[in-house]
């Protein structure tokens, strides 16, 4: 939001500046005659292919095929009546290519099924790559009905399938299916149908819709309920879904309950309200959260939140002191909600947030190739079900041009990560006053700051590459290599000692940037790059894996046999 308003102010200043300049002597006015599209990339490569239904072979129309060089797509093709697409003007480089069509499973280039590691598409100048085809499998569906305790259909309840996943060192529940259709709301008959699902095993959760802003009393509603009809995730049953099939009669019964309200005040230790306070509320140990309307504390620091179901909650407030020092402050409160009772008079006292300061150390190339960098603080405490929580609301902090930085964090263990690193640069280590904390994180104290943080970046990362052979020593061109630490302790949490690799066009895999250490490597037919970080998944693989040792910045090769 702030970003947008800043832009508006900048524009105004810019426009005014121009408006005040005399028009005499300015460049001759240009009319609206078409000129070169400034938004269009100026490359000379072309990608062509076809998208078809994997089961029927029928061409799929109006499918967007997007080309990703970084995290965002800048180019794409749209299939025509014969399912064919073309992407022109592509700059030479290494790309991900993704075909996405609602109701079908999204595939990346190199995948024949979802969750498989993908392959990069490498393009040279002037090259035309033909037959970059996608055969999209039809998604599976889960259909059912949501009723209340009287047997009446409940409309407007958001039903979603949740898959267990392994992310940032934790087992989490993630929304299954395409993000646009992952949550399906029940209609007036109470019916829902979640589609576009990959085969797998899912929890099905029904969550009432948010009741709108500025509700005085949340009244009666329903707690998030899991199939077959429990509010406790531990008692939920998973629904098994086969490739492209419909699983019906997944019916849920909801029990209405009174929603609780929390009334609270947040101040600094002198009882003064904070400036610009922001609230983060989470339920501990929940599979899914009721959507909250997060209020803003008033001028006296008072706020009221409605719509809590029984459970344990954490409320965090971040803001700045109202004094002239504008110090960042934060408060953390824990609340237990029992049986529809309200919580009144909760007083949260905000204390100064610890800051962490330091600088970036470069080994290899100079900062001129680095460009602007942004750092994010990642809390290493228990994460939210859907995403890792960042302290201070996940704010990105810009690294100064002299490569120094200063971040604030809630007390506790947290680590720093870059929003994105420029191509060719890798994180080598994070040190605090010489001690390597890359794995354990930085301990932000209850009071006091952390200084002397060094983040080392390198352009000379370690590299493991190799080929994979199958039966009869033939080279395999479709596989996933999983590399993980020999020490089980280093498989837990947000570990750096884990990577997956997929073959390139020459059937070779390349993994860059692993820290020095003792590793196992194993080549599998396929593995979900996220889920395979689960220590329980890795443990049985150790006996069949190939051990190797990687030195600091070492470039080595290893050939593997497909398991």
């Amino acid at each position: 939001m702030w970003k947008r308003s800043t832009l508006i102010v900048l524009v105004l200043a810019h426009a005014l500046l121009h408006a005040q300049q005399p028009t005499r002597g300015a460049a001759p006015p240009q009319d609206t005659a078409p000129q070169r599209d400034p938004a269009r990339p100026g490359g000379t490569s072309v990608i062509r292919g076809q998208v078809t239904d994997a089961q029927t072979g029928r061409p799929l129309r109006a499918v967007v095929v997007s080309l990703y060089a970084t995290a965002r797509a800048y180019q794409g093709g749209l299939t025509d009546g014969a399912g064919r697409y073309e992407i022109q003007d592509v700059v030479a480089g290494r790309y991900r290519l993704v075909a996405r069509s609602e109701g079908y499973l999204t595939l990346n280039f190199g995948q024949t099924r979802p969750n498989q590691g993908e392959k990069p598409l490498v393009l040279d100048d002037g090259q035309t790559v033909e037959h970059v085809d996608f055969h999209l499998p039809r998604g599976a569906a889960i259909a059912g009905m949501v009723r209340d305790d009287r047997g009446d259909p409940v409309a407007g309840v958001g039903v979603r399938a949740l898959a267990t996943s392994y992310s940032q060192g934790r087992r989490t529940l993630a929304l299954a299916g395409d993000t646009q259709t992952a949550i399906q709301f029940t209609d007036d008959l109470g019916e829902f149908r979640i589609f576009g699902l990959a085969p797998g095993s899912f929890y099905v959760a029904a969550v009432p819709a948010i009741s709108g802003a500025n509700i005085e009393s949340a009244g009666a509603s329903y707690a998030p309920t899991y199939y077959p009809g429990t509010t406790n995730l531990a008692d939920a049953q998973r629904v098994n879904v086969k490739l492209g099939e419909v699983t019906s009669n997944i019916n849920l019964a909801l029990s209405p309950m009174r929603m609780s309200t929390i009334s609270a005040v947040v101040t600094d230790s002198d009882g003064r309200a904070l400036t610009n306070p922001r609230l983060i509320v989470r339920q501990m140990g929940a599979g899914v959260l009721l959507p909250f309307n997060i209020p803003r504390p008033d001028a006296a620091g008072k706020f009221q939140m409605s719509g809590f179901t029984p459970g344990d909650y954490e409320i965090r407030v971040a803001g700045t002191s109202s004094g002239s020092d504008s110090m960042p402050l934060s408060a953390i409160g824990k609340v237990s909600i029992v049986n529809g009772e309200d919580v009144d008079g909760l007083h949260l006292v905000a204390i100064k947030m610890p800051t962490g300061s330091g600088h970036i150390v470069l080994s290899g190339a100079t900062s001129s190739t680095l460009g602007p960098l942004s750092i994010e603080v990642v809390d290493l405490a228990e994460s939210l079900p859907y995403q890792p929580r960042a302290s201070g609301g996940g704010v990105l902090v810009r690294v100064q041009s002299d490569l120094t930085f200063s971040v604030t964090s809630a007390p506790g263990r947290a680590t720093l990560r870059f929003f994105t690193l420029p191509r060719g640069w890798y994180l080598k280590s994070i040190r605090v006053n010489g001690t390597d904390v890359s794995d354990i994180g930085i301990n932000f104290p209850e009071s006091g700051d952390v200084s002397g943080i060094e983040i080392e970046l390198t352009t000379h990362p370690s590299e493991i590459s190799g080929m994979v052979r199958g039966v009869g020593s033939t080279v395999v061109d479709d596989y996933t290599v999983v590399v993980f630490a020999r020490d089980p302790a280093r498989r837990k949490g947000m570990t750096r000692y884990f990577a997956t690799g997929r073959p390139d066009a020459a059937a070779k895999f390349v993994i860059n940037g692993l820290p020095a250490g003792e590793y196992y490597a194993i080549a599998l037919d396929w593995a979900d790059p996220e889920a395979s970080a689960d220590p329980d998944f890795l443990e049985p693989l150790a006996s069949a894996a190939t051990p190797f040792t990687l030195g600091d910045g070492e470039v080595t090769s290893i050939d593997l046999i497909l398991k």
Binding site: P34, Q35, D37, R72, G76, G219, M259
Partner: protein, 559 residues
């Protein structure tokens, strides 16, 4: 033909709710037992009209002139709600719940205005109960021309409404087709609707899509434009099924380029984002284009555009605070696309400004209104959907005004305190009250506009009787001009509902000849339909209003 369709909407579709909506309990003032000084209370229940059972988790909203913003709450396990700490005033209570029709207290039919609840200081009013009728539904399938489901296609249910004499379609519900192409739009009020299906290309920020196949928006039963759509009737609480669509594949195109200053220099990041709209698409909604840039250059892009005519608008940045300077520049551009990728620049144009002064009718009894006056420029062509809305300007203490406007022909209209009305707008002594002023697209300044206002305003009051001659308490009236050219102008057109004594009142209409007609029920959205008004002329009571004249009239309700 159109008239008959509308009569169905007005007369036949509504009685079901009307009959059933009579509340069994009337609101009553509770004895002020435990005298509380904390203000008044309104409480009641929300119930299902068909079963009489309490509706839990229904949203109840209360609004009044005394409240700066509406207050809202949710019903509890018994369907009960309560608003405390209310100051005295006239309150409107509205309840809504998914799959039910939203109603206000005292409202006998959907879309009609509710009746206010008059609350005294520290008074408690109980049993303000609302009975919500179950909504109707429209269901069907969306397939492509090869018979395959168009997964994710959006179906929109549109209600025809007349705004300034022009038929507009207002979205009242939407749904997306699932993996077998089925959709269901529910919670609909009874009525007749235009139903449209469209399949958007999955958008993603910042990309460049090249041409391919897409689908053109289609109106039931298979028309490319809304005018030839067949209306779909929905009865109360019932499902109208088999409203099936087949969408034809079309080659879609894209547009892209840079937003520039008037002289072609890069525009930096523009103040507002360019928006694009398909001309003739009744869903009066612009899509914001994808923007990218480096702070100096500002590029726009829109992809997946099916063949047709489009309008691009870039509205100037507006600000309510005078401290922020406003650069009054914008642009309106029309293009035609037929599946190609077009590249062009959008140069910002300085937009026009109008200056003038407010004058007082020499015969006015007061020397000036006591409240603030605002002046706005309103586009004359009401077919322009959505209207070009530019901000109104406040008249300064010396009675002068400067108002920014979009290019084109504009009416100058003041917003006046109660008891005052516009008498005439003149440009350099020429009367332009109803003809408007043409503003050039080059940022020309039009000055010497005179807006004459008067407190000698017209007033019509009256009562309505049914065919048996009984005086009625509940009805709606339309006052419309003899001159059809003025049908769509708010100076010559009004609707009203009676007060608790059954009297209606309309004041501030321009002097002239009028028809007055009463209805048992009137959907405000259809009142300005010119064909309806033409048809009503013969049944209506005719009256003539001179400047400052008050008239009383008795009208008969049209059966």
């Amino acid at each position: 033909m159109r008239y008959r369709v509308l009569r169905i909407a007005i007369v036949i579709a509504w009685p079901a709710i009307a009959a059933a909506q009579t509340p069994p309990r009337s609101p009553q003032a509770a004895p002020a037992a435990g005298r509380q000084t904390s203000g008044g209370t309104i409480r009641g229940h929300v119930l299902a009209l068909d079963t009489g059972r309490p509706l839990r988790s229904a949203r109840v909203q209360i609004s009044a002139a005394e409240l700066t913003a509406p207050r809202a709450t949710m019903t509890d396990l018994d369907g009960a709600y309560e608003f405390k700490n209310l100051s005295s005033g006239r309150y409107t209570v509205t309840a809504s719940r998914s799959s039910y029709v939203e109603l206000s207290y005292g409202q006998t039919r959907a879309f009609e205005a509710g009746k206010p609840i008059v609350l005294g200081d520290t008074q408690t009013i109980e049993n303000v109960d609302l009975r919500l009728p179950k909504g109707g539904a429209i269901a069907g399938t969306v397939l492509d021309d090869t018979g395959q489901p168009l997964i994710g296609a959006t179906v929109t249910v549109l209600k025809p409404q007349f705004v300034r004499g022009i038929r507009r379609l207002i979205s009242t519900g939407t749904a997306r087709a699932n993996d077998v192409g089925e959709y269901r739009v529910f919670g609909l009020s009874p009525g007749t609707f235009v139903v449209s299906a469209a399949k958007a290309i999955l958008a993603s920020p910042d990309w460049t899509i090249q041409t391919g196949t897409g689908y053109a928006p289609t109106f039931f039963p298979g028309s490319p434009d809304a005018a030839s759509a067949i209306l779909v009737a929905v009865k109360q609480g019932q499902t109208t099924g088999a409203i099936d669509f087949v969408l034809d594949a079309k080659r879609v195109g894209s547009i892209g380029g840079a937003v520039t200053m008037t002289d072609g220099r890069p525009a930096g990041f523009p103040a507002t984002e360019p928006m694009i709209r398909r001309i003739g698409d009744p869903i009066s909604r612009f899509t914001t284009m994808v923007m990218s840039g480096d702070g100096v250059h500002s590029n726009f892009r829109a992809s997946g555009l099916s063949p047709g005519d489009y309008e691009i608008r870039l509205m100037p940045l507006t600000s309510s605070t005078a401290a922020v300077p406003v650069v009054w520049q914008g642009l309106i551009k029309r293009i035609t696309l037929d599946g190609e990728n077009l590249t062009f620049n959008l140069p910002l144009q300085p937009w026009p400004t109008a200056t003038g002064r407010i004058t007082i009718d020499p015969l006015a009894s007061a020397s000036a209104p006591s409240g603030p006056i605002r002046v706005a420029a309103i586009n004359v062509d009401p077919a322009d959907t959505p209207p070009l809305s530019t901000p109104a300007a406040t008249v300064s203490a010396d009675m002068t005004f400067t108002v920014n406007t979009a290019p084109g022909r504009m009416l100058i209209r003041p917003t006046l305190p109660k008891g005052w009305a516009l008498k005439a707008v003149r440009l350099k002594r020429e009367d332009v009250t109803d003809s408007g002023i043409e503003f050039a697209s080059n940022g020309e300044r039009v000055s010497e506009i005179e807006v004459e206002i008067t407190d000698r305003i017209t007033d019509i009051t009256g009562t309505a009787r049914n065919a048996k001659g009984d005086l009625l308490n509940d009805y709606s009236i339309i006052v419309f001009p003899h001159e059809p050219a003025h049908y769509g102008d708010s100076r010559y057109f009004a609707t009203a509902r009676p007060d608790q004594n059954g009297r209606f009142s309309v004041s501030g209409l321009a002097p002239g000849d009028y028809h007055v007609i009463a209805f048992d029920y009137l959907d405000p959205g259809t009142a300005q339909d010119p064909s309806l008004l033409d048809h009503l002329r013969s049944d209506a009571t005719s009256i003539s209003l001179r400047e400052g004249e008050s008239k009383s009239v008795g009208v008969k309700v049209v059966p």
